[in-house]
Structure formats: C-alpha cells, structure tokens
Symmetry: C2
Subunit: 221 residues, 2 copies
DNA sequence: GTACGATTCAAACAAACGTTTGATGGAGGC
DNA sequence: GCCTCCATCAAACGTTTGTTTGAATCGTAC
C-alpha cells in the first residue's frame, strides 16, 4: 500500500459520509470500514475526530478560495474595474465546478459546517473566508458604486445564500420537484444564477430612512 | 404543575438546543435537564427522540406557512395580480418576524433540518412546503410573466436561499463582521432584502440556448 | 540478516447515548 | 374507603461512541 494512501482514503470516505449524514451521525467505524482501513488509523493519522473534520474541511476550502482570488486577480489586472457579471462569475464558478463536476455533495458539507457548534471550526471558516469576503466586497462595490458598504455587505450575504442553498439542493431537486427542473451542467446553472445575482446586486440602494434604527411601524404584537 | 406544561417546556428547550448544537449533538439528558423535567418524559410524551424532532419542527413550520398563505390570499383578492414586491413580502415577512421578534434561532433549526439524513423528516418538510411553493411560484410567475416555469422555480430557490442564509447568519454577524453591520428590526432587514430579491426575480429570462440543453420543452411562449 | 522507525491491526476501555422498567404520587369517579 | 388513569421519577438496560493500548507487520538503510 503506497504511503499516504490511508490518509487520502479516510479523507475521501469521511467527506462523503459527513456530507450525507452529518458529522455526529458518522462514526469513525463507518468511515474506516468504508475506506477499508483500520479503526485506529484515524486517531493515528489525524489525532482525533475533530481534527479529521477540520482536515476534511480545509482540504476543499483552501484551494477553492485560492482559485476565486486568482480569477479575481486576473480580472482586475485586465480591466479596471471589472464588470459586475465577471466578479460574480469569479465568485460562483469555482464552487459550482466542484459541485457539478467533482463531488456533488461538497456544498452539503458546508451546510454541516455552518451548524456545527465547535468554535474552532467556525473560527477556521471565518478566517478562510475573510480575505475572499473583503476582496469581493470591494470588487462589487466598484462595480456597483451607488451602494454603501452596509448594502454591499448584506448583498454579499444574500449572494452566498442563494448559491449555497441552491447547490445544496441540486441533488434533491429531482426528488422533490420532478425531473423537469434538473440542472445538468455548470453552464446551465450559471445561466440561471448569474442574471438573478447581477440584477439583485445592482438593485437600487436601500432607502435611507429604513436604514435608521427602530422603525417600529410594523403594528404587530 | 399545569397539564401540558411538561411537553411545552421540553419543546422550548429542545428547539433552543437543537438550533444551537444540532439534533445529534443534543442529548435527551441535555434537554430534560435544561427543561427541569425527568429524562423519561421525552419518551413518555413523544415516543422517541426522532418524534420529538418532528414535533419541534412542525410546531413552527405549520403556522408559518399558514400565515404566508393567508397574506397571499388577501393580496390576490384585493389586487389581481399583486405586485412582485408584495408577493415577496408575503413570503419573507412571517419568518423574519419569528426570527427578529421571537426566537432568533429559528432559521438555524431549518438549516439543521436540511442536512438531517432522516427521510421521514425530509418528506414532512417537502409536504409542508409543497403548497407554499406552488402558490408563490404561480404568484411570482404572474408578476414576472416574461419567465418560464423553469426560471421561476430556480429563482424561488435562490430567494429561499438568500433569506434563509442571511437569517441564519444574523446572530453571528456582529461576531464575524463587526457591530456596524448588525440589523435591528424586521423593517431594516426587509429594506435590504426586498430590493435585492425583487430585482433578482425580475431579471431578464435565462438565455434560451443555455436553458434548452437536454429538454426542449417548447421554447416559445 | 539485522535493527529500527513508521504503520497497521485486533482488542479493550470508559463514557455517553436512547430507551425501558417498575415504583410512586395525586386527582377524580364510584 | 377503593380503584383507575395519568404523569413523574430514579434506576438500570444494552448499544454505540471516540479513544487507547500493545503486539504484529511493513519498508528501508546499514
């Protein structure tokens, strides 16, 4: 057996099972049995289950964000400022390709990470995304200068949400909505998502008075 | 102790802990200890942990979707067809009020449900949302008639994603992005979200050649 | 061939889990 | 009084969990 092979097999199987069943509902026995390795191999190679979770996470999110930033770099050196659609594409293309062409369960793994209580994992996640959020926030702001920073921040959140949610659902769609809504390729996905995001991001700015605090004209309660 | 009190206390504490730690990382001992009731009370009142999860879920999602449909009913009897912004508001206002005024962790509970492997819970969730998805899909289609059904479906998914994701994050935002982006009221939230969604939903239709990949379902209309 | 560090293995560990049990307490009908 | 139904309780059940252990095995340099 080649060296390093056991670690990779564990990571692969763990990623699959974590995405399908969640971190806590996946036992090390499930993982090691599926990977065809010994139970103790996880603690030998990774130290603990929590460290394995981090390793599974970092193996994907690091290259993903690096790729996003590379594309954005190229964009910003060739045209200044880049068009909004290009910035959006730079943001959503890398994860879309991972999901549609590589591991379709990748985004469900993210969903698990969000709801995971471990503070360490949350911290890692925030750190991993800090630069991406900053760089893309600035790029979007330049492409849509009529917004203020507050607007840009929240629209970035909205964009992440619609992308992550729809990616996490793509696998389930045929089951819950029928075959006619299945999406087959990255290009088809982008053809739907990009017009939505570009239009949403470049919508008129938030009305000023609503930005102010405690506007309680809801009349509820 | 008033009758029915124990059940409510269990549901309240379970909702809180489920949202914070996930279903599997919350033990019945945590729940019953936090609620101040006996461990066996859960199995006595609900039958099993899985049934408790369903009960926690259904207590919220039933009234929520009923409220959405009531608002949409009123809209469709007063003006035909309702404006897009009104339809969007009818969809996002009920969950926003629950999150901002009632239990802020409500949306994280949804996130947990998505990633839960149990097929029964998924089925319940799909059934609970079927009518809402159908009715709101039709209302949006009438307000934005230049889209086809395929477009409407996916934009509905995008809308749900941006709403759910941003709501699930609102609590964390001050920690990861600083106080300046905190949102205080439902109206402030809507002032950001509605313009984004209305613009995104009414964006130009998906280009034909990208949409008609494998299924050519009558591209003209 | 021998020695040695790195890896794999079967076995066992204590802890935590969901669930079940049988006893206990109290309220209402007869 | 007595009985019944419903709810609560402490205790225990059998599993499953992550982790540890110590021996066995592999690859490689001497």
């Amino acid at each position: 057996m080649p060296p390093g092979d056991t670690k990779e097999k564990i990571l692969d199987e763990a990623e699959r099972l974590f995405a399908d069943h969640g971190f806590s509902d996946t036992s090390l026995r499930d993982i090691t049995a599926g990977a065809g390795v010994n139970l103790a191999a996880v603690n030998y190679h990774f130290g603990s289950k929590e460290e394995l979770i981090k390793a599974v996470f970092e193996r994907r999110v690091g290259p993903l964000n690096r790729q996003r930033l590379e594309i954005l770099d190229r964009l910003e050196t060739s045209s200044e400022p880049p068009a909004l659609a290009e910035v959006v594409d730079a943001f959503i293309d890398p994860p879309l390709r991972i999901c549609c062409e590589g591991s379709p369960i990748f985004m469900r793994l993210f969903g698990q990470t969000y709801s995971h209580p471990d503070a360490n994992l949350t911290r890692i996640m925030v750190e991993q995304f800090r630069e991406v959020a900053f760089r893309f926030g600035r790029a979007i702001h330049r492409a849509v200068p009529h917004l203020d920073e507050h607007d840009v921040f929240w629209r970035l959140v909205f964009m992440v949400g619609s992308m992550a949610h729809s990616l996490a659902l793509t696998e389930m769609v045929p089951k819950i909505a029928g075959e006619q809504h299945r999406i087959e390729s990255v290009e088809e996905f982008k053809a739907h998502l990009i017009p939505f995001l570009v239009a949403g991001l470049s919508a008129p700015a938030t009305p000023r008075q609503a930005s102010a605090k405690t506007t309680d004209r809801g009349g509820n309660r």
